[in-house]
Amino acid sequence: MAEFLLSISAPAWLAYSVAALIQCALLLAVALGSAAISIWLERKVSARIQDRLGPTRVGGRFGWLQPPADGLKLLCKEDIIPAAADGPLFRLAPYISFCTAFCVFLALPFANNWVALRLNVGVFFILAVSGLEVFGVILGGYASGSKWSLYGAMREAAQVVSYEVPMALCVVVPVLIVGSMDLVEIGNHQAGWFWHWHVFHDPFTFATFWIYMTCAVASTNRAPFDLAEAESELVAGFLTEYSGFRWVVFFMAEYPAMFLVSGLASVLFLGGWNGPIPIASLLHLTPAVHPLAGWIGNLLGMCNFIAKGVLGITCMIWLRWTLPRLRIDQVMTTCLKYCVPLASAMLAGVMLWMYLLPGGVWTQAEQLWSPSTVNAATAVRREQAPGPPRPAEKQAHHEPEPMDVVWTR
């Protein structure tokens, strides 16, 4: 984008700032859009589960205008700040949550190289920033001054912080397989048919995927783990004192977090923008053929990615409306007694597997099956992974790409 503006001789600083603004606007649109979609989806899916229709009258037959209607209603609701509240902190808390949830979108790739900020430490950055969301909650609970909201804030903080550990362990597995923390690279590593996805890479990664999903559900406070706003015990947890726009901002933090977590799951385990059938490569829509074709290929990839994200959200909603809520100590025991040991076992398992069968189940099968097709498959994959030539090759000779030294492809 910036190069394009520079080419039309806009002053440098204008070009860069405009490019940055466009990308921010795009990301904000994605974050709020995902929030709107998931709100609408939640209403419709939960209605279907509960044998009712869900919103139908607002805008068209399927009530798709419901999220804006909710937003408008909440906007004109009165914003009450309780007397015992600590003013500035009370106002600040929702924005901390929203900012952390939003700036995680920076590092999330939507298609091959379509990412706002291609960080070399992408996955690590996402984990770090999603860890900060708990501050917003603690501040919110503490600043509202009431005993109940403090209870809710404490519970949620303990839960989110403790679920970060198994989630980090599960995220390390795909990083281990690919050898780099760069999300675009992880996505490209899963190109080709759906059996190239990491989830089918080996039994351990398959199990890791499910552990990751449980930890993800727990860390975004959804479904059976939603202790914070446990209606039946603590009225509404730390959200009791919030109303009107601040309440919306808190929910603007929770719903994009849902999309983000399922998006991350799809990139790490389900092949991100690589669909089950590699349409883009079959139709030769790759940049090698023509830059515009590459762009369309990426567009297809993005649709794939968003479809998987929405699928993840539907599963979370489905979980929420069928399971009752777990008790705080049960949530903690599942984390410490089940998730952490299992995740570390899977990590050890994958390491062992990588050592014994480097490629993963299907590549091995392919090799055993017919050595000749292997070169074709790897060729497809190598040619299929376009984008800027990987730094390794371009690397000046004197610094051999360390990855190649240790992990054979």
């Binding site: 001054g145 730094p391 360390p402």
Partner: protein
């Protein structure tokens, strides 16, 4: 003002944030406000790390320091704050003395910072074609293969080939020991003795006596 150097703009932004909130920590009396200012300043410092090109350290700072230690600290603040907004004033005299010493120290440091000429202007930037800094080299250094010293000309500097593997192991053991010790230390002592329900167990703390 031909090409505004992005690096500078963001540097000043993060620097101002970091120093501003650091001063905020010193000035405010309310312990909760102090914690929040500290979190903000550490976040700004993480931004500075990113700016300085060391992404991995920035991410570690965000995750371990801000996401971990600060949450610990905030929990500590909430568990020990008697009233919701406890604040303890320090005597006026201490303030003046502290600011004098602090100011002197600051002057000395600043003078030192700006005295060495080659620190002032940065080296001509390595051509942009320099590879995007991957965390791989740092990761390998931790594991013991000092990739960046492979072709160092003079033998003396090449000595540090062994990398940080030993230090890395010691640190992990150290961390485990300290955390287990801390958990054991923080455990409430009155664990198994029978506690009459009515009286709220141990002698009720002298409420309000301690604070001004």
């Amino acid at each position: 003002m031909d090409a505004v150097n992005w690096h500078t703009i963001f540097f000043w932004l993060f620097a101002m944030l970091a120093c501003g909130f650091a001063v905020g920590v010193v000035v405010t009396n309310n312990i909760v406000r102090m914690a929040c200012c500290l979190v903000a300043s550490l976040g700004a410092v993480a931004g500075l790390f990113f700016l300085a090109g060391t992404e991995f350290v920035g991410a570690v700072q965000l995750m371990v320091y801000v996401g971990g230690t600060m949450v610990l600290l905030v929990f500590g603040v909430m568990l020990t704050a008697r009233g919701p907004f406890v604040s303890m004033q320090t005597g006026g005299g201490q303030w003046i003395l502290a600011t004098i010493i602090g100011g002197a120290l600051l002057a000395v440091l600043l003078q030192a910072a700006f005295s060495v000429p080659q620190w002032m202007a940065p080296k001509p930037l390595v051509p942009q074609a320099a590879p995007a800094p991957t965390a791989a080299t740092l990761g390998l250094a931790l594991m013991g293969v000092r990739v960046d010293k492979l072709e160092r000309p003079d033998p003396v500097l090449r000595k540090g080939m062994s990398g940080y593997l030993l230090a890395f192991e010691i640190i992990s053991v150290h961390l485990v020991v300290v955390l287990v010790g801390a958990a054991y230390l923080a455990r409430a002592k009155r664990a198994l003795g029978p506690r009459p329900i009515g009286l709220g167990g141990r002698s009720a703390p002298p409420l309000g006596a301690a604070q001004k």
